[in-house]
Symmetry: C2
Subunit: 239 residues, 2 copies
DNA sequence: CCAAAAGTGTTGGATGTACACCCATGA
DNA sequence: TCATGGGTGTACATCCAACACTTTTGG
């Protein structure tokens, strides 16, 4: 009767490299789907939950210290998503700062999302979900911290947002929005100008390195009476 | 070595009944956790994905026609979440309109979230996640359609939002926000006043009965140039 | 005519985009 | 001093919460 059900975890690890958003994948040597590119992951172990598992599996491909953010995307469970066996996957989004260059195994490479080679199983859908989630959260959380170096100029940060969002972003307004929300703070230092000259750029850092919702409810917020209780509700849709 | 992994689906089905947000649960007759209250659900079948499965399982407890919205919350996978066996759960949020009164099996009851009896396993955490998701999406989507009757007055809708959000909501502003976003439209009809008199209330309906994000990116939106391409990006965090 | 409930008008604040303008540096 | 990149100031639009005021009913 019931086929045994396996459970795997898969991570779309994203990083902005050379100005483009890229995803980490390894090339399958054996069937099924040999030759196609596969997201890092593996079977859920007996003594771990999916979050622990994805971190353990990722550690086999990259230095976990370089992965600044991991969050669950959802379950992929079509009965035919993997041939022959019944394998349910929990998908994750992982982020690596743009200045990291983690060592990866020889079968593993970064690929621009815009030109993804043929992927195994339903991994392309997972990558698409990861991209959507990243775009959304860049807009209403401080998630940028996970893509940026510890210190950066506003134009460098702008370039990261452009690569991740896929549309032009004004450096002027990016700075204003993020500082008003206290997502960014100046370090006090400045970066030397490039060879073409120009005013030295101030350096900034993210004030916080854990995910925070910075744009609370757009509407239907609780009345602004006396200072409301601790831990105001925020638009935390996905933890 | 590896224990066989089972996969179950569980649904926190929410409805506003008698002015309070309630969740559907059934009382376990047998161990483990006998006597405690459990969310509807069951094991994933061989030929279905988790979305199909949760609908199938829900159909055993309520008329599926009454469930106006179902969405995935995430995976609960602590190794010890269920004793003895390894069982990973995909949790869902389900919504039932406030005017429905679905027949439920004798062991099944509605319970106010504010006074939840002892729950089985990690089901209380699932209910909490469902509540958070509902609160968040009421604010930036048209999800109210899934809680409201087909036609309603603004004050009735306000009461639903108050019950779901847990804080006061101004009927005046609720109407303005939702009509501006074209989430609501007047039916043209009016409801008769109550016994105490008062002006008859206009009846409204939701223009759409599928989830739509109505409050697009708060910030970092693409430049408003020429009319942008089709299907503008929106803050779809969870499909 | 009064109370009750519903709906409209209006104000003020917060937030964001766009754009003009000023600043600091290297050649 | 000029080109270049960086940063600030300001105008304008949008959106929303709050609240005063008007409308329509039943007693």
């Amino acid at each position: 009767m019931a086929r045994p059900t396996e459970h795997e975890v898969l991570a779309a690890v994203l990083q902005i490299r050379c100005g483009s958003l890229q995803v980490l994948a390894w090339q399958r040597a054996l069937p099924p789907d040999s030759g196609r590119w596969s997201l890092p992951g593996g079977l859920l172990g007996d003594d771990e939950d999916v979050e622990q598992s994805v971190r353990r599996q990722l550690a086999e491909k990259v230095d976990l210290g370089e992965v600044t953010h991991v969050e669950q995307l959802g379950v992929f469970s079509r009965p035919d998503r993997v041939p022959d066996v019944r394998r349910v996957a929990t998908a994750f989004l992982g982020l690596v700062p743009s200045d990291a260059d983690p060592a990866v195994p020889p079968d593993t490479q970064w690929h621009p999302l815009a030109a993804l080679p043929p992927t195994a199983f339903d991994h392309a859908a997972i990558v698409a979900d990861a991209h959507d989630r990243l775009r959304a959260k860049l807009s209403y959380t401080n998630l940028g911290f996970a893509l940026a170096p510890r210190e950066f100029t506003i134009s460098a940060l702008r370039d990261l947002y452009v690569a991740a969002l896929g549309h032009p972003v004004s450096a002027t307004n990016l700075q204003r929005v993020l500082t008003r929300r206290q997502v960014l703070e100046p370090t006090g230092a400045v970066a030397p100008p490039g060879p073409a000259g120009g005013r030295p750029a101030a350096l900034f850092r993210f004030t916080d390195h854990v995910l925070r919702v910075t744009d609370a409810f757009a509407v239907l917020r609780p009345p602004t009476g006396p200072p409301s209780g601790p831990g105001e509700a925020t638009r935390v849709v996905v933890p």
